[in-house]
Symmetry: C2
Subunit: 343 residues, 2 copies
């Protein structure tokens, strides 16, 4: 493995602390056993933590960073300290070609600002978008973007997200002409807000795009497997994603209550336990952690701030797979081909 | 029961047709057996349908309407035909004091436009908002608004929704100082979009309001029972509500698959069936149907377009309870008292 396929990890980001980050990276290393890491953060603390993970220790270098981006810090403020923070240095390692990807569980807005400034957007893309693969009843996962990088988006952003999301689905999910829909509050043409209606008109007219535009989709049909890519502004996307997580947990809590409501249901629960545990795994957000900033000249993966060891490992896995499959270059080629065709 | 406590039902709205509407109203009548109805729509069709519901027939009058608002019709277009449509006539019966409430499963935008034009907003309220009581892990249900009446909202709208939502919670849930939060994509002060940050600043400063302002809430904590009222624009609210519905169904589908995955889990399922059926009932959106337009001088309840017989009955029940408890007047008094105190 060349030095350019190492993964830079912001070891200090995340609400759960350094120990959980290191345990997560160690777990990912056991799965992707040719992966190498650059662990960025307080050198002494990281070296101390690595004593519990000899395998990871052998596969890692430590890169010292004196400061940490706080979760309540304004992106503009964090940006000024980029060169001294673990987040900023991790992103910079990608820019300088010393790492193939950066992973952080820190402040989303700050990570977006640093990634955009340092790596710049691909030609034809104004703003990067956070995309994730989410579970669905369909044959493949669902690509959804933007999940929170851009709270407000105009028509142009939405159309670009559709093109980037389709490129991601073509490469990551191997779909030839992904079915793309815009998230809206109704399926009739005149529904919703102007930017979405205009984006729909443009996507409907752009028949040369290597995607199948399916119009609007509402929140209740996201996971039905009817589309491959869902496009929205970062505000609605984040609301939808978190509401889905919260509802899954709510249903699981109600189910627990229901199973505890009588001796009979407790017995039934014990018997069907393997099935319900399988379900619990499917729904655990830590098993779907790791959103990718699409549209940048380099790979940055955002891990959930509250991710546990499993969640961190999943996010590292997203980066490792994208590096292995060379997805950033392939998405970029895919976008360039489309531009060439459109020209 | 006086004539002014009758409920006007738009019998022609809804995707499921007249038969389902009538079956739903008949079901509600069996539960609220002193309720009287004005069934608005095609007289001949309604009289034909009523032959299957002698009990409802005795408790109803039929009001003829020649036209129906289509689900894909623009609100402005529907508004011009208000006087001849079943929806418009149902709303007008409330205005003329012949009914205490109107219920429709038709086009939300058209219903909002007709209700606003005919009934006008309460003093101090610019736009009505769609509010519903949603299930939560807390001691009471959760009030959430706006759920889709206003796709775009400014700071002033959001602050008014907070005050109206709190008045609804004080009267319907009997909470003295409801805990109110704004839906956002982070909990730190600087998160989200400007209108929400400004609304938060105003609500934080308005210490005279009979509510406890709890700042921001994210989508994953909506049903945790930590707040009583969640305020948002109609676009995000509709996305959150529908995503929650879709996710609950998704989890139920996965659970079904899991239970079918082995003989062992099938046996466990059969034994614990009463518990899982209880859960299915708790999660069925038809059991939570019926959103109220808050802020109008009259009561209009929106039933889900795809509601089944149970769903229609639940929405009629929301109207019947609000009429019985005189909630529209009490919310109006509550808002007026707050204005007097603030003056």
């Amino acid at each position: 493995m060349t030095s350019s396929s190492r993964i830079a990890v912001d070891a200090m980001g995340g609400d759960e602390g350094l120990a959980v980050m290191l345990a997560g990276v160690a777990r990912a290393r056991r799965q992707y056993n040719d992966a190498k890491f650059l662990l960025v953060g307080d050198e002494e603390a990281i070296r101390g933590g690595l004593k519990n993970h000899p395998g990871l220790s052998a596969a890692s270098e430590v890169v010292h960073a004196a400061e940490v981006v706080r979760s309540d810090e304004k992106p503009s403020q964090a940006l000024r300290r980029a060169r001294t923070t673990s987040m900023g240095i991790a992103v910079d390692l990608v820019k300088r070609g010393e790492a193939a990807a950066a992973v952080s569980s820190g402040n989303t807005g700050a990570l977006m600002a640093m990634a955009k400034l340092s790596l710049r957007t691909m030609p034809g893309i104004d703003r990067p978008a956070l995309a994730a693969l989410l579970p669905s009843l369909g044959e493949t996962d669902l690509v959804m973007l933007d999940l929170g990088a851009n709270a407000e988006c105009d028509t142009r952003n939405l159309v670009q997200f559709a093109v980037m999301g389709a490129a991601y689905a073509r490469t990551a999910l191997e779909l030839e002409s992904p079915r793309v829909a815009l998230l809206n509050i109704g399926t009739e043409e005149q529904k919703g807000i102007e930017s979405i209606r205009d984006a729909a008109a443009q996507l409907r007219a752009a028949t040369h795009l290597p995607l199948t535009f399916n119009g609007y989709i509402e929140g209740d049909r996201l996971s039905r497997g009817e589309v491959d890519v869902v496009v929205c502004d970062g505000f609605s996307g984040n609301i939808a994603l978190k509401t889905a997580e919260g509802t899954a947990r709510f249903v699981a809590d109600l189910l627990k209550r229901a199973f505890r409501s009588s001796v009979r249901s407790k017995v039934g629960f014990l018997i069907s336990r393997p099935a319900t545990e399988l379900l619990r795994d499917q729904l655990d957000p830590n098993n779907h952690n790791g959103a990718v900033f699409l549209g940048l000249n380099g790979l940055v993966v955002k891990s959930h701030g509250g991710a546990n060891e499993l969640g961190v490992a999943t996010a590292i896995g997203v980066a490792a797979k994208m590096v292995r499959d060379d997805l950033t270059r392939r998405i970029s080629d895919n976008l360039r081909n489309f531009e060439a065709e459109a020209a």
